[in-house]
């Protein structure tokens, strides 16, 4: 049973976790965030993301070689790119967050996060999806194009400020209750 209760008042974790320590040993600074349901969660600067991922994936003891998902989150004041890392061989788990402050994003542009797709094929479609729905631009992605919405869709639907355009075709018909 891997179900552990959530840290109710998100207490500040003490010190670095396994992966955080490992990354620090290799000269990459991370910030530890409150554990999400018992899984070590670290924040990392976008510039170090690629190096950190390569280290975590390649190391023999940690071997986080299974990129489960990349999710984009439109948080209160940041855009988060969240990486769920698992391992095919052991039970290590890690959540990495890259946070881009909303104040840092240039007006009319998308937040920038480096892409993993060039050395990790699993990231390819996940990044496309996150770009499509949350609007995080992964620079260095070989084919960053909308994947779930049509290519000429306006806006990014999972943004908090997204407004659905009125669809003239499916608007209220007189007889329907919609």
């Amino acid at each position: 049973m891997s179900e552990t209760p959530a840290a109710k008042p998100p207490e500040e974790p003490k010190g670095l976790g396994l992966c955080g320590q490992f990354l620090k040993d290799h000269g990459i600074a991370t910030t530890r965030l409150p554990d999400s349901c018992g899984v070590e969660t670290i924040e990392i600067d976008g510039a170090h993301l690629e190096a950190a991922m390569k280290l975590l994936r390649g190391s023999s003891e940690i071997k986080l070689d299974y990129l489960v998902a990349i999710s984009g989150v439109d948080s209160a004041d940041t855009f988060d790119s969240v990486y769920q890392l698992w391992s095919y061989t052991n039970n290590n788990e890690l959540i990495i967050k890259v946070r881009v402050k909303k104040t840092d994003v240039v007006e009319g542009q998308l937040p920038l996060v480096p892409s993993l797709a060039r050395f990790w094929s699993a990231a390819n479609w996940h990044e496309r999806e996150t770009y499509d729905l949350v609007g995080i631009r992964y620079y260095g992605h070989p084919y960053l194009r909308r994947i779930l919405n049509v290519w000429d869709w306006d806006g990014h639907p999972l943004r908090r400020d997204y407004k659905q355009l009125v669809d003239a075709l499916n608007d209220k018909a007189s007889g329907s209750m919609r």
């Binding site: 209220k172 018909a173 007889g175 329907s176 209750m177």
Partner: protein
């Protein structure tokens, strides 16, 4: 050597094909599994067409206009019109509309209903020639007494307690005998349900309202009514 292996392989292949053919051919002697649908109605347990049940014993309408179903419906396909009766100070159901064209038969409304009034029947034959015809009104939704009894038995719903006699004349809307008021005391279990839901609603009523906004815009006058209803039902609880 090559020839021999070819022959063996051909033999094996033929044997395997024949094995498959035999298995298929032996199915000839099995009973067909087809259900001859229109001739023989299937005995289903599906969450089918929504309907409003009446009390199987007294044939009074079970709906208390609490709007739980309306609120929980993910598709917003339920529309309830009710007003507070001036004499009894209780909610009276005026109209109950369900758009079956929108409904996805998730059964959540039936789950939250405190009086087990709205239920999923087993009926799935609802084809109509127009979308408008799929909007069922109160008259079309209300089940007869026998049907209600059937579904109460089938779904093993405990029978509701009969309403005190004094409420009966108030409900005597001659045109709509079914549109009666609500039973005074719901069962203790369903009351708990109502209480729970009310508590939850009260906490974040604001948030719910916000989400419902687009739907509510067309029916602005109802907004007021709803708050009234809430008061009404709260009172009835006391």
């Amino acid at each position: 050597m090559l020839a021999l292996s070819l022959v063996t392989r051909a033999k094996d292949s033929l044997y395997q094909i024949c094995r498959g053919l035999k298995t298929v051919a032996m199915h000839t002697f099995r009973e067909p599994i087809t259900q001859v649908y229109p001739d023989k109605m299937p005995d289903t347990n599906i969450r089918g067409r929504l309907a409003l049940a009446v009390n199987p014993e007294t044939s009074e309408h079970l709906c208390i206009s609490c709007r739980q179903c309306e609120r929980v419906c993910p598709d917003k396909c339920i529309e309830i019109t009710a007003h507070k009766s001036p004499e009894t100070n209780k909610l009276e159901l005026i109209e109950f509309k369900i758009d079956h064209g929108l409904c996805m038969f998730c059964g959540l409304c039936a789950e939250v209903c405190p009086t087990s009034c709205i239920i999923n029947t087993n009926d799935f034959e609802m084809s109509e020639y127009s979308r408008e015809a799929l909007v069922y009104d109160l008259r079309k939704l209300t089940l007869s007494q026998e049907e209600s009894r059937y579904y109460f038995d089938r779904k093993e719903i405990p029978l509701p307690k009969p309403k005190p006699a004094k409420a009966a004349p108030a409900a005597a809307g001659a045109a709509k005998p079914a549109a009666a008021g609500k039973p005074e005391e719901a069962k203790s279990e369903s009351e708990a349900k109502v209480a729970d839901a009310k508590a939850a609603d009260a906490k974040d009523a604001k948030e719910v309202k916000q989400a419902d906004e687009p739907e509510k815009q067309t029916a602005a006058p109802e907004e007021k009514e709803e708050t009234e209803n809430k008061e009404g039902s709260d009172k009835s609880k006391d």
